[in-house]
Amino acid sequence: MKDTGRQYRETMLGPYRVLDLTDEKGLICGKTLADLGADVIQIEPPGGSSARDLGPFYRDIPSAEESLYWFAYNANKRSITLNLETVDGQEMFKKLVAEADFVIESFPPGHLDSLGIGYPALSQINPRVILTSITTFGQTGPYRDCKTCDLVSMALSGYVFLTGDPDRPPVRIGFPQAYLHAGMAAAAGTMVAHYHRQLTGEGQRVDVSILEACAWIPTDSAIYWEMNQVLEERHGGARVRPTTGARMKRIWQCQDGYVSFDMYGARLARNFMTPLVAWMAEEGAAPDFLKEIDWNTFDYFVAPPELVEKVAEPIAQFFAGRTREELLWGGVARRCCIYPVATPGGVAMSRQLEERGFWVDVEHDWLGARIKYPGSCIRASETVSPSARRAPRVGEHNVEVYGELGLSRKELVTLKRRGVI
C-alpha cells in the first residue's frame, strides 16, 4: 500500500496499485480493479500491446489508438511502455514492483522466470505482492505449454459441443468469451488473496487457467455423464426433454427479429404460461384448447411431443405479429418473461441501461469524438466508482509514472533511444 500523494478518492480500492502486464487474455481483470478505484498501470511493450490490434476499430481505421476492443477493456487505467526483455527494463520493473500491491500477467508459464522477474524474485523485492497469472491451461499439467484461442478453450471446456443447430457443426458464441471469463476469475482470485494478505501480511501467487474458467460454463453435460452416463447434445434454439423427446422452442421469430421465451415445466410454466395465455386471450389469439390447459399442473416432462408442438403453434403466431419491444414490455406488464434476442443496437438502446445511466460518454481528444463506454456493474452504498477515464494511449503516462520513480526526462529520452520504453 502506497501513499503517492495523489488525491485520496473514496473508491473502494483507492489506496492500491496494480501493475498490469496482460494482453487480451487478461485485460478485463485490471479494468475491473480500476473500476473499483485501484491505480492500474498497464505496462505495454514499446509500440503497444498486441490487444490494440483487435477490432472493431473506430471508423474502421486499423490503428493501435483506435481499437474499440482496447477502449472497452482498458478504461480507467494508465499506460506506460517498458521492454521487459532488457536489463534496464527489468530493473525498472523491479522498482515499480517494490511499491505495487498487485501484478497481473498473462505470459506463457515460465516466461517471467526466464527474465528473472518471476514470483521468487518479485516476492524478495516485495513479500506482500500478489502475482496473478492468467494462462491458457494454468501453471501445471500436461497441456501447460499448449496453444489456445477463444474457440479452442471453449471447445475443450465442453460448451461448444452443446451449442448450435444439430445438423451443422457445433459453434462458439460469436464474440470471444474465454479470456473474459478467465480475466474475471482472476479478478476474484486476486481479491481473495488480498483479503488473506490484509489479515496476515502474506503475499502469494494466483494461478488462473483459461480452460478451468471456461469449464464452469457448461451447466450439466459433465454431470449428466457422471450421474447417468448420458451424453447431452445440442438442440439449436430449443430444449429437448430426454424423457419424451419433446422439442421446446426457446427462440421465436417475431415481427422485427427474434424473441426468447422458454417453454418451461412445472412451477415456471405456471409463472410464465398463465400470464402469456391470458394476454393472448385478451387479444383473441388463444384457441380454446390452450385456455383450457391448467398450467398449475402442466408438466413438459411428461407432455407428449405432439401436445408440445400444438401449444407452440398459437404462441408462434402471436409472437410473429408483434415487435420485440411490444413483446418485452407487454410481458413486463404481466410478469411474463419474453425477452428480445437483442442485437448490439438493441443493447445500446435498452431503456433499462439508459435509465440507470450505465453508458458513460468519454472524450477522446485525438479522435475529436466522445465515445460511449460501459459503466460499472457494481454499485456500492459507501463508496463511489471513479469517474470514467478513457483507455490510455500507448505509453501516455510514461512521464508521470517514471517521474514518480525519480527518473528525469533526460533519462527517459535515453531509455527511449535504447528501446526500453
Binding site: A155, T219, M227, Y258, V347
Partner: protein, 406 residues
Amino acid sequence: MEKRKQALQGLKVADFSWLIAGPLVAKFLGDHGAEVIHIESGTKTDNLRNTLPMKDNVPGINRSAAFARYNSSKYGVSLNLGHPKGVEIAREIVAWADVVLENFSSGTMERMGLGYEELRKVNPDIIMVSLPMFGHSGPLAKHPGLGSQLADLIGFGNLTGWPDRPPVSPPGAYTDFISPYYAISALMVALDYRHRTGKGQYIEVSQYEAGVHFVAPLVMDWFVHGRESPRTGNRCPGVAPHGVYRCRGHERWCAIAAFTEEEWRNLCCAMEMPDLAYDPRFITVIARLHNQEELEALIEKWTMEHSPEEVMTLLQKAGVAAGTVCNGRDQNEDPHLNARGFYRELEHSEIGRHRYLMPPFRLSKTPGEPSMPAPCLGQHNEYVYRQILGMSDEEFVRLLNEGVFD
C-alpha cells in the same frame, strides 16, 4: 498466530441465494475457507434441487447433481421465512455473519423484512451483496428473469449460430457464470474497506450489466457506426482457418485455428500437405479468407481420418492451437483437468462419492478446495441452530413443531 490454511478462514457468510449465480459466489467463498450457512426454504425449494441429472435417475430432493455443483463447502439449513419466527432466526444468522448474500428478484428481501436497512439494525457493519437480474432501479427492476434468457437480452443469443439461420441461444444459464466474479471482487474489496474504515456497506451487482461488459466492444461499435454484428458460425475476422471440423466417429469434432503465417505453415506440414501453404489459393491470409470454404473442406478431409484427440495432439505438437470439442464424457476424462485436480470427489450421503469442481483460481499458499459435499435439505439445522445460534433443546423442538424450519 496459527497458520491459516485457507484465505477466507474466519469469514462468516449468510447465504440466502438460490439457483446458480448467488450459490456459486458462496461456493467459491466456502471452497476458500469461509464458513457459509446456506439458508433455504424447506417447502418452496430451490428449483435446482428438482433439476436433472439425479443420481441413478431416481428423483429426490437431495439427489440432484445440478444443485450439488454450486453448493459444496456450505452448511445447509431449512428455514420458513414466511413465519415471523423464521425471519427472527434469519436476523440472528445475520447478526452472526460478516456477509449477507442474496439473488432474489429486486424487493424480495425487503418484503420478507430482511432488507439492508433492517439488517444493519441487527448488525451495523454487515456487508450485504445482492445480485439482482437488472439492478434495483429502472423499468425492468422488478421484472423476473432467468440467466438463460438474459443471455439473449444481452446479445449472446443473436451472435451465436450461422448467418443463414435463426440465432441459437447459448445453452444453460450462461450469464450466471459472469456476475459471480464481479460479486466476489466487490465483496473482498468491501471487506478491505471495512477493515480500513470500520464501515460495512450494501453492494449491488446487476447481472444484466455484468453481462454487457462481455459484449461491450460490439455495443460501442454500434454507438459509433450504427453497425450490427452478424452471426459468423465459427469464423473469426482476419483469421483463416478458424473453425470446428468433423473428425472420425459419431459427433466427434476438433477446433483448429491458425493465426500466424508460421502456424499456417505448421498446420499444412502436420496435415502432411506442406505444399498447400504455398498454394496461391491459400498463400496469404487474404487469399485464405477468400477461399475459406475450399480451405475448410480440405482440412476436414484430413480431420475425418483422425480422432479429435489425434488431431489435437498432432497439431499442438506442431505449434498450432487445436482442441477436442469435448462432450460430457470427455470433460470428465480430460487428462489435463484431472492432472490438475480440477475435480474433487466427496462422499454425499444420498448421491454417494461424486465430483465437485475447483474454483477457477488457485492460490499458492491457500489453494482452496471443496471441503464438504452439498448439504441435504436442512442437514445442518441442529448444528447451526443449536451450536452456532445457541438455541436450547426445548426451543429447537418447539420451533421445529411450529413449522419454523419448514
